[in-house]
Symmetry: C2
Subunit: 132 residues, 2 copies
């Protein structure tokens, strides 16, 4: 009890493949909660801090703007967290639906790209016909 594991910003940077600049930027902007400092003012990341960052990466990689991620963080830090559960759930569910839609349209676009590739391949073999 009390002696939790802690990590430097460099550790976290290496682990999550984010620059130290970006990690500090996220904290300054409220994309993740404030991180505890030691007596020298140096940030000491807990596993919870790292979990937050992992969530941020997951949402960011699926296209959620930082603005919305901030909103989730803000809602998670109120005194009575359960008051904001519904709202956070709505943000996440909306996002999930957007991701699903995006996957569908990506599949369609992929088919178009494949057609284009096949068209080019046809030209490579035949060396004739109209090319766009």
């Amino acid at each position: 009890m009390g002696d939790e594991l802690s990590f430097t910003i460099k550790d976290v940077s290496d682990k999550l493949n984010l620059s130290t600049h970006t990690i500090r930027y996220y904290e300054k902007e409220g994309v993740i909660p404030k991180v505890k400092r030691n007596d020298n003012g140096v940030r000491e990341y807990t596993t919870t801090d790292i979990q937050w960052l992992e969530l941020v990466c997951c949402l960011k990689e699926t296209g959620m703007p930082l603005k919305n991620i901030k909103q989730i963080v803000r809602l998670s830090l109120v005194t009575n967290t359960e008051d904001t559960l519904e709202e956070r759930l709505e943000i996440l569910t909306n996002h999930k639906n957007k991701v699903l839609e995006h996957m569908k349209s990506t599949e369609k676009n992929l088919m178009k790209i494949n057609k284009k590739i096949d068209y080019y391949k046809g030209n490579v073999n035949c060396k004739e016909g109209k090319i766009q």
Copy 2:
């Protein structure tokens, strides 16, 4: 012969859901080939022009930077188009592979998001336990 269908920039804007600004910007930047003008200097889009724009949208929506799209256009406009087929094929195939990878990672991220949603839903029902 000679009397091809042609469309105004407004027509194209409505059809493809791109602003007229954006369409002109694409032309200026070389993202699409130059469009023919009438005697008053007004752009008249052919179906081929529209097909180009549709390809651009497809590539853009799947995350290809305009820089690479320009490259494809440039390679399509050389005198001996078949000389550049292999290179265009490579750009498209690389892109296709990136899209496939991205889809895979999106699926993983979606699973994480679903877990988070389930976790929140559990909290909504139980109103107890640690919340992050």
